[in-house]
């Protein structure tokens, strides 16, 4: 045999396993506590989608698209969700949407502050960056094992895996946005006596906003990608439809599941891209409803 003798092989696999076991045994209450806020938000969101009739959701996305981007995006959103309704996947789509919304909310709540800290402190960023690199290069399947061991199976652990997988972009782009704020704007704030907090909320964050919104967009798309994968640990939604289709060699079922995911992804991508556009009238072409409203209010 042309390899290292077995006696020399480092038993890293066993070490990892025993440390995960240790984590599970000793820290289980903590991880169960972590589930709680996520489960609450998820339940709230999915209950909300259940209460609202499907046509109102379609109308809501039409309004959202029009409000944030333009009427064409509004129509696209309405068409996509109407198509999903006609595919007979409405319930699954709403669960996926709830998972997505929950994951994105937590990504923003955790990711933006981390991004701000990274943007302010080179030391913090030098610690965080390799962690983000590991998070992004680790294959998404690999997340599933520790997540299942720590949190169990089901939709909530699926959301947790999604959060972990899709958080890096918003941290990175918040950090980048803050670092790209022109030095003279910051100096002007200082010269006029802005406190740290004022400089952050009135200069840095507004000027970094397009970049943060691009991060949000990326995070959302990563979460979308994850929605199929988390079906393997029992998360419900469109991913499960696809998985079931593949499992029973039902190409049709897998196909419409995939189609619904694509439609939803395109719609959400277009709408969140609109968030990143500067909110001032520059090109004048087909302005969003919000922009028209603001313009009309100007004396």
């Amino acid at each position: 045999m042309n390899r290292l003798p077995d006696d020399y092989i480092v038993p890293l696999d066993r070490w990892i396993q025993s440390s995960i076991h240790w984590l599970v045994d000793e820290w289980r209450p903590l991880f169960q506590a972590l589930r709680w806020p996520i489960a609450k938000v998820l339940d709230g969101v999915s209950d909300g989608f259940e209460l609202v009739p499907f046509w109102l959701v379609i109308l809501g996305f039409f309004a959202l698209g029009w409000l944030i981007v333009n009427i064409r995006t509004g129509l696209l959103a309405a068409a996509s969700f109407t198509a999903i309704a006609f595919l007979g996947l409405w319930d699954e789509a709403m669960i996926s949407l709830s998972i997505l919304a929950t994951a994105v909310v937590f990504c923003v709540l955790i990711g933006v502050p981390l991004g701000i800290l990274s943007g302010r402190s080179d030391r913090f960023w030098s610690i965080l960056r390799p962690i983000l690199d590991i998070m992004q290069t680790t294959p998404s399947f690999v997340y599933l094992v520790p997540v299942v061991m720590l949190f169990g199976i089901g939709t909530v652990p699926g959301v947790i895996a999604t959060i972990v997988f899709s958080m890096p972009p918003i941290i990175r782009l918040t950090n980048l946005g803050l670092r790209q704020v022109p030095a003279d704007a910051i100096e002007a704030g200082e010269a006029f006596g802005a406190t740290e907090w004022q400089a952050l909320t009135r200069i840095r964050l507004p000027l970094a906003l397009p970049s943060i919104m691009a991060g949000l967009n990326q995070t959302l798309l990563m979460a979308m990608v994850m929605s199929v994968i988390i079906a393997m640990i029992g998360a419900e939604g469109l991913g499960l439809t696809v998985l079931r289709g593949i499992g029973s060699l039902d190409v049709g079922l897998a196909g419409i599941g995939g189609l619904a995911i694509v439609l939803m992804a395109i719609t959400l991508d277009r709408i969140t891209q609109g968030l990143g556009q500067p909110s001032r009238p520059s090109d004048g072409a087909s302005p969003s409803l919000w922009r028209r409203f603001r313009q009309s209010r100007q004396p």
Binding site: P182, D184, A185, E187, A188, G189, E190, A191, F192, G193, A194, T195, Q198, R202, I203, P206, L207, L209, P278, S279, R280, P281, S282, Q298, P299
Partner: protein, 413 residues
């Protein structure tokens, strides 16, 4: 006028070991050697000056001379290494961060070379920026904001975004923002350097016009010598982190301390700096009393080697002009007042610029220069002006010496 801003022996060294550099500076080592030996950059060395209330003090220097560093030391955007800065007698360097913020919000504000406007806010909100940082009531500060926008002529642009404005307009917004918090002191860091020449000229004029109403104490930074001369009451020329010369623009143009300053001064059109009053003091003017005879008048003119003289009364008011030509054929014993030339001369006040006298010499007649109180100062011939502008006879020495106060602002009009 009281002293508003007093800077004494200010030093700024960039780097991690400023003490080492300071020791070398004290030994008189040149900054480039200090950089080579210690890696520290001595940006400002031994800067001392004071600015009176309502005065424009300009610091002029080429890029890298340390002028932008120096102006940032005044509001501590950059911490000076050594020295003192005081506003109204209060030491700024001893202030806590919170006190310093208060000073920046109310007493001292700044205009930047690249405008540094916030692109996500309208013109209105940009101007209101300083007021909003102070936490002032939105409605109350709106009135103040509209007032300063009116002052800089941008009332119609209040709801536009900076991106839609030209460079000149952006800097008006920058100026309005600085004025909105009603500071005592304005720091202007090359505010017009990024603008094209015509707009720059326009804004210079407007700043001077505005300054007549608002009477702020202004520290103005520029690399443009002509701009410095045009705007300032006092002017400091800076080179390699040190002041080379401080003085009024007239003093610097007329008696530069070394070749470096002389090189800048050379570019300057002296006729736009020198006033008739300054020249009047430098020449031998002939004043003939009202009761003088022809002979006495001729004698006086001959002694002074001049062709024209002024006949004045006891109060020093000019009654008429006497000329050698008109007296030449007159009987010696007559009163000079009986033999006056045709009165076709022009009269100008003492603060008239020499450049503005040129057209008056067309008729080969002298120009009468009166002091502010109406008393006669001198009769200027075209030759007098030419002589002073060509700089012969060392005549400029006698001009550049004080007092210059009365004509100080003349060159700006």
């Amino acid at each position: 006028m009281t002293t508003k801003l007093e800077i004494s022996q200010l030093y700024k060294v960039y780097g991690t070991r400023p003490d080492e550099a300071m020791t070398l500076i004290d030994q008189g080592v040149h900054p480039s050697d200090i950089l080579a030996r210690t890696g520290q950059v001595a940006a400002v060395m031994d800067a001392s000056f004071s600015v009176k209330e309502g005065e424009i003090f300009t610091i002029m220097g080429l890029s890298g001379s340390g002028k932008s560093t120096l102006v940032r030391c005044l509001n501590r955007l950059i911490e000076p290494t050594r020295g003192s800065v005081s506003i109204d007698g209060e030491d700024i360097l001893a202030k806590s961060r919170a006190d310093l913020r208060g000073i920046r919000r109310t007493k001292i504000s700044m205009v930047f070379q690249n405008f540094a406007l916030l692109p996500h806010r309208t013109v209105m909100d940009n101007v209101q920026f300083g007021l909003s940082l102070r936490g002032e009531n939105v409605e109350a500060s709106r009135a103040k904001t509209l007032e300063v926008l009116e002052q800089v002529g941008l009332s119609d642009w209040a709801n536009h975004y900076p991106d839609n404005l030209s460079g000149g307009m952006k800097q008006r917004v920058g100026l309005a923002r600085a004025l909105a918090s009603d500071p005592d002191i304005l720091l202007m860091d090359e505010p017009f350097s990024a603008l094209d020449p015509l707009i720059r000229d326009e804004l210079q004029q407007e700043l001077l016009k505005l300054q007549r109403d608002i009477k702020k104490t202004i520290v103005f930074i520029t690399h443009d010598f002509l701009e410095a001369v045009k705007l300032s009451d006092h002017l400091a020329v800076m080179r390699d982190g040190r002041f080379v010369q401080i003085g009024t623009p007239q003093q610097i143009v007329l008696s530069p301390v070394d070749d470096y300053v002389r090189n800048f001064a050379k570019e300057m059109d002296r006729s736009r700096i020198l006033t008739a009053g300054m020249l009047a003091r430098a020449i031998a003017t002939v004043t003939v009393p009202a009761g003088a005879t022809v002979k006495q008048a001729q004698q006086q003119l001959r002694n002074a080697e001049r062709r024209h003289g002024a006949m004045i009364d006891n109060a020093g008011i000019m009654l008429s002009m006497v000329s050698a030509d008109a007296l030449a054929t007159a009987p010696k014993a007559d009163l000079a007042s009986d033999h006056l030339p045709v009165p076709n001369f022009a009269t100008r006040p003492a603060d008239c610029l020499l450049a503005d006298l040129y057209p008056l010499f067309a008729g080969n007649q002298p120009v009468v220069i009166n002091a502010q109180d109406g008393t006669h100062l001198a009769l200027l011939e075209a030759a007098d002006v030419l002589q002073i502008l060509s700089g012969v006879n060392g005549a400029e020495k006698s001009i550049s010496s004080p007092p210059v106060d009365t004509e100080k602002k003349a060159l700006t009009t």
